[in-house]
């Protein structure tokens, strides 16, 4: 996957925005799809859930069962077990932890229920029929690469680069940070200050405020998540510190509006429509259809979504797809 933000066209990376003419949307065999995801405790996950539901609503032949969002792997496992007992036709699973759900997903596959793995990857290739991944590492790389560009553009000699991460104990946060760090390394830069919030507005404000105290001057700030970014922005406003280039993550509509206004430099997209894509693919898989734009007869095994950077230049392209958080 190319992580070069320059030559990305948004439409190509979005199967939800599939404008291809096909008969795939025509009603087919009635299918029951089970969906389970983490607790919708912040904007992006909330958007994931609602996008999944509205995707299902579009098809009269889909009955969607949504399990209680949870951050407890054990509970999520039992939800999948319940789906298996229930003999649903397909399962769309955004695991709290990919590895932890692998066993039960394999069980589902063995029971003949195709599993569509969304966002956080299983540890075994046999656990999913199809995997749709947001690219967390790629997201960090995109942000880091963009930061490098800024350093070059603005000719910053010894820039202070700061990072506000999400929940630090999640592997996805680690992936993002790793990507960021490695991309920065390529242009000889490193992260000077790093704090971790927990994806909520409140934690963003809190960690943001503390970070601003820790670093009297910041040149580039990457914040992993636009939802917590609302809080970070409030902290910047409060301290009246707008000297830095503020880069966001996820790509909420709110962030994009701020980019338009010039209050934010950029945001790295992390599609909130993955689960919606998952539902669509699950329906196709369950009905034995393929993706019409592909020559392939069947739905592919693995789709990695891109993590493009949205800036003032291309924001208008992306705004319609952005999620309200």
């Amino acid at each position: 996957t190319g992580n070069d933000p320059e030559n990305q066209s948004p439409a190509a990376s979005k199967s939800a925005g599939n404008k291809a003419v096909s008969n795939n949307d025509a009603s087919g065999k009635k299918v029951v799809i089970g969906f389970s995801g983490p607790a919708a405790d912040h904007g992006w996950l909330g958007a994931i859930n609602s996008a999944a539901k509205s995707a299902a609503k579009k098809y009269p032949d889909v009955e969607l069962k949504v399990a209680e969002g949870t951050n407890d792997a054990s509970l999520q496992i039992s939800q999948i077990e319940t789906f298996i007992n229930d003999k649903v036709d397909a399962i769309v699973l955004l695991p709290t932890d990919g590895a932890a759900l692998t066993e039960v997903a394999t069980k589902a596959m063995n029971a003949g229920i195709p599993v569509i793995n969304v966002d956080r990857e299983f540890s075994s290739p046999f656990a999913a029929r199809t995997t749709i991944l947001g690219d967390n590492y790629g997201m960090g790389v995109s942000a880091g690469t963009y930061a490098c560009q800024l350093v070059k553009q603005k000719k910053l000699s010894n820039p202070v680069i700061a990072e506000i991460a999400g929940i630090d104990s999640l592997p996805l946060t680690q992936d993002r940070s790793k990507g960021f760090k490695e991309a920065l390394k390529k242009c000889g830069q490193s992260v000077d200050n790093r704090v971790a919030a927990d994806f909520t507005v409140e934690s963003g404000e809190k960690q943001g405020s503390n970070l601003l105290q820790a670093a009297p001057k910041i040149d580039i700030l990457w914040n992993h998540d636009d939802d917590q970014g609302v809080g970070v922005m409030a902290a910047l406003d409060q301290a009246n510190r707008h000297e830095m280039a503020f880069i966001g993550g996820a790509g909420s509509a709110n962030a994009m509006r701020l980019i338009k206004e010039g209050k934010m430099e950029a945001t790295v997209l992390y599609p909130s429509t993955q689960a919606a894509d998952g539902i669509k693919l699950a329906r196709l898989v369950a009905q034995g259809k393929g993706i019409s734009d592909l020559v392939q007869v069947e739905v592919p095994r693995r789709i990695v979504l891109n993590a493009p950077v949205v800036t003032k230049q291309n924001v208008d392209q992306y705004l319609p797809l952005a999620f309200e958080s």
């Binding site: 496992i77 039992s78 939800q79 077990e81 590895a99 630090d168 999640l170 592997p171």
Partner: protein
């Protein structure tokens, strides 16, 4: 000119002191009322829980039909309840001894991470997977020991000491795991704990065994007696020659051990060890224990109640999932159902004890 005083109140004499952790009505009644027997336990409280659970099951059958009433689904509920159930059994002892432990979830996480790290790093060198199990149990007991020493000998309030442990154990788990999910590839381990005996999952058997052992320990041994005496009146226990400090320490070690067992079960269930395991187990376990009828103020405990409490919460989640309720609505419904269950239980206890 006489006046009728006979308007009976159904209330206990301590009617006024609500808002405290004092026993609800009916607690004053005798034990072993005979009729309702085992399940009614202290003052028919458990009977109320059984009724609440039955109502839930009925709702499940009405709304879920066969999908709910199947053997498979029952096992799913039991398997889900088993991990938190083991922790709750241990928690019952600590609460019975007038303590509390907020660190259980973090200890489960630490045990799982420590054990799997040992496994992934050294198991290649031909260790048997039982080493992993042993490490999980030892780490759990060790954390419990630290809690126990701080509380019993350091005289730190249990809430504070275990809050500190909560932070520290999770932090340590993250450091050890380097915030990565450790994947267990030992088939022997997964097959053993993930398997079934005569159709019953090993996890469920483990839960049943722990609950039964806990019941015996609480109700049929001197250890249980001492626990209740310490929870009921620590000063009296001390003056009767009981080593209150040492016993208190044992209680936390016991709970730590339960966390270790739970960690093994969770590792088998998820085939992973990670620092995010056991999130919010403290709330779930305390809730199950308290709704089961064990007093937070100590001195009165029922293990049957705890098990029923666990089953009620787990069944609730299952019924919700089958009914496709959205998460927010589930939360609201859950709140309402908890309140309803407790009120129901009080009512049953009251009528049951007269």
């Amino acid at each position: 000119m006489s006046f009728d005083l006979t308007k009976t109140k159904t209330e206990t004499p301590t009617a006024g002191d609500a808002g405290t952790a004092i026993a609800p009505d009916g607690q004053a009644a005798h034990r072993g009322g005979g009729l309702v027997g085992f399940l009614s336990g202290p003052a028919g409280r458990n009977l109320g829980l059984v009724v609440a659970l039955l109502l839930l099951v009925i709702v499940g059958i009405l709304t879920g039909g066969e999908r709910f009433a199947s053997m498979d689904n029952a096992l799913t509920i039991l398997r889900l309840g088993s991990v938190i159930g083991v922790v709750s059994v241990g928690m019952t002892f600590v609460i019975a001894g007038e303590g509390i432990d907020l660190s259980v979830g973090a200890i489960v996480a630490l045990c799982s991470v420590w054990a799997t790290t040992i496994a992934t790093q050294t198991m290649a060198a031909d260790y048997h997977w039982s080493v992993m199990v042993f490490v999980a149990l030892a780490v759990g007991a060790g954390c419990g020991l630290v809690n126990g020493v701080l509380i019993a000998y350091g005289r730190i309030a249990p809430f504070i000491a275990t809050l500190a442990m909560l932070a520290a154990a999770r932090g340590l788990a993250e450091i050890i795991a380097k915030r990565r999910t450790q994947i267990i590839r030992e088939r022997g381990f997964i097959d053993f704990f993930g398997g079934s005996v005569a159709g019953v999952p090993v996890l469920v058997i483990m839960f049943a065994a722990v609950a039964a052992a806990g019941w015996v320990l609480l109700n049929r041994t001197t250890f249980g007696r001492r626990t209740l005496a310490i929870g009921g009146n620590p000063e009296a226990a001390r003056l009767a020659g009981i080593r209150v400090q040492r016993h208190t320490m044992y209680l936390y070690i016991l709970l730590g051990l339960a966390c270790g067992i739970a960690a093994v079960m969770l590792m088998a269930r998820t085939t992973t060890g990670t620092s995010t395991h056991g999130t919010l187990y403290e709330l779930d376990a305390i809730a199950a224990v308290v709704i089961g009828g064990t007093l937070l103020s100590g001195g009165r405990a029922t293990l049957v109640g705890t098990v029923l409490g666990v089953l009620i919460f787990t069944t609730l989640t299952n019924v919700f999932t089958l009914n496709n309720l959205d998460t927010s609505t589930q939360a609201v419904a859950k709140g309402a159902i908890i309140v309803a269950a407790v009120l129901l239980q009080q009512r049953v206890a009251r009528t049951g004890s007269t």
